[in-house]
Symmetry: C2
Subunit: 338 residues, 2 copies
DNA sequence: TCGGACTACGTCAACGTTGACGTAATAGGT
DNA sequence: ACCTATTACGTCAACGTTGACGTAGTCCGA
């Protein structure tokens, strides 16, 4: 407490080795438990002690070892975010939302990609569980939710995005795509379009069917074509549709990438967008504004989707009963393609 | 070992609680240490014991607690990947490369976004260090590498992508953008373009200057305009350039998004691409193929960049001396814009 | 038949932290 | 002056795992 407390254990301040509670305690002359109390601001220490501990922490560059802390508290302050793919404009933005919301709550985010492969998803979940994550946010594998249910059953708080799973430890977050479809259809009709077609997703797990179902119910005599959700597939499907001489003047696509393919196919066939056919996409990825013509689309606020998932996850973790599913609104962005 | 080893401690098989080495050991009738040996395949056990341990592990659903393991081995089997932004076509693909390479090596990836803010980068690195990551891969903040050097100095193996940092604990991975520029310039000249311009990045930290410097040295009397690396800024810069009546028939842009803005500006001014002006971008993001006209660009293999970073990180971690910097080749992708 | 090597275990402590609990000193009320 | 609270600590064990080391039993060669 006098001026000579600096030379004490000079070796401890070598920055190469990481300091522990013990090192700090020794330097200050208190017990590690007291240092811990200061670090966690638990109270039960004098302000003088606090000051000296804080100084020592600075001098030694002490950083709490979260692994040790987690081991005893059973809280790791990590969440896993699991997506089927990442090199796609949709998921990174959701990831951004998850990451930022997690960060602001003191959580660190693991990111894993399953490539849509069930065995990879299983491996990933297994590994995440071993790492003691506090929660899981995922776009589950289309066909099989059993693994997810299993982990949730083992007590892992889970948020499922854009899918449905009824389980006390699982909360669902989704965007209101039914409403999105209705916005698109209404918009096309307002534009005077009377024969509507839809480019639906070929792989049709439960969740992807929602858009198609809504479209069919709103447009009973509409054309529905299925294709994989890629640019090329969208191009091909549209080209075939045009070649078959099917008559339609309005097209709604499952996502923007397919819509872009459709527009290219329409133009290549000598028709014009929106002159002959109006096109509406879904997602509002960044590219959509840059296309020629700019793509009218259903905007999904992906960052908010991610943030909402984190928020629900926290509620799930901290409460006994699962919070209700939450549905985010979508909106129509009108550009030149319609 | 007779048939009555099933009823023993039936309560232990409740799936709700996670089993530990002790639980498995008790069920088999050996010590936890032996179970640990089987789990880690260390040897020192009979094949009969191995069998029974493995069975018990399955029945109890035992999963090793990586936190406890890390605490003692001082290896967490996690890496952090830190990027300035994620809602940009470039970084997710690098992330994909990092993630896949990490996964294949038994590592799990933390992902953090710094939004280009130095204080966020610091916070993130601090937190990652607390989580005991085995290594760090990052696109460092443009202006300031001190933080990175500090963490590396504390013994954290670090891989810096597309930047330079001379430190025994840091390895650099980059793509050969100098060569990329030379490919672009040569290509434009082969197309008969004689007056070349470049859209450079306004914010010019050391690493971003490389393309500009190479361009200037190859095209001594070329025009160089700086602007932020966004679509709108690229549009504006190009529009101004055209309005100033500067004569150029070939344009190389810092990245594809700027190039897309440039193309739009050129077309809006009544000129044609590539009729009047050829445009070459850089990155080959997915959008580039979908633009009209398709964008000629310098392809950077982003997944490989990420995979290479992981590979270097492992070398760095497992050896005494830092491996040399590695430079990935780039290639020219010719489309309709040139 | 003995010694050395090897096999197949077990024991104990430690990693860095926090929960539970104990306790000396001081303050405050009557 | 005495009892009770409160403050400011300290002690000890535990979290689940692995490193270091010990040890009975077996095998094999001389």
């Amino acid at each position: 407490m006098t001026s000579d407390d600096k030379p004490i254990s000079a070796a401890a301040s070598i920055p190469g080795q990481k300091a522990t509670l013990h090192d700090v305690a020794e330097r200050v002359g208190v017990s590690p438990r007291t240092v811990s109390r200061v670090v966690n601001d638990e109270g039960g220490f004098s302000s003088a002690t606090r000051e000296r501990v804080l100084n020592a922490i600075n001098e030694l560059g002490y950083r709490p070892n979260l692994l040790a802390r987690s081991l005893i508290t059973n809280r790791s302050n990590t969440v896993a975010f699991v997506v089927p793919v990442i090199d796609d404009p949709f998921f990174p933005e959701v990831a951004q939302g998850v990451q930022a919301a997690a960060r602001d709550r003191g959580l660190t985010m693991f990111l894993a990609v399953t490539e849509g492969r069930l065995e990879l998803q299983r491996q990933v979940l297994e590994r995440m569980a071993s790492h003691g994550i506090d929660g899981l946010i995922l776009f589950p594998h289309a066909e099989d939710l059993d693994d997810v249910a299993r982990f949730a059953g083992q007590g892992l708080p889970t948020v499922v995005i854009d899918d449905a799973l009824d389980h006390p430890n699982v909360c669902v977050v989704r965007s209101d795509l039914e409403h999105g479809v209705s916005l698109a259809v209404d918009h096309l009709r307002e534009r005077g379009r009377t024969s509507l077609a839809m480019l639906a997703n070929e792989a049709s797990p439960r969740r992807k069917l929602r858009r198609e179902t809504t479209f069919r119910s709103m447009v009973p005599n509409g054309i529905v074509v299925k294709s994989p959700p890629t640019f090329e597939a969208g191009y091909r499907a549209t080209a075939e549709l045009l070649a078959r001489e099917e008559r339609f003047d309005g097209l709604f696509a499952f996502n923007d990438v397919m819509a872009a393919g459709a527009i290219t196919a329409i133009i290549d066939s000598g028709r014009s967008v929106p002159g002959d056919i109006s096109v509406v996409g879904c997602d509002d990825i960044e590219m959509s504004a840059l296309l020629t013509p700019g793509l009218t689309t259903i905007r999904i606020d992906r960052e908010r989707l991610g943030a909402e998932a984190v928020s629900r996850l926290i509620q799930l973790r901290d409460s006994v009963t699962a919070p209700p599913a939450s549905t985010l609104t979508v909106s129509l962005v009108v550009r030149e393609s319609s």
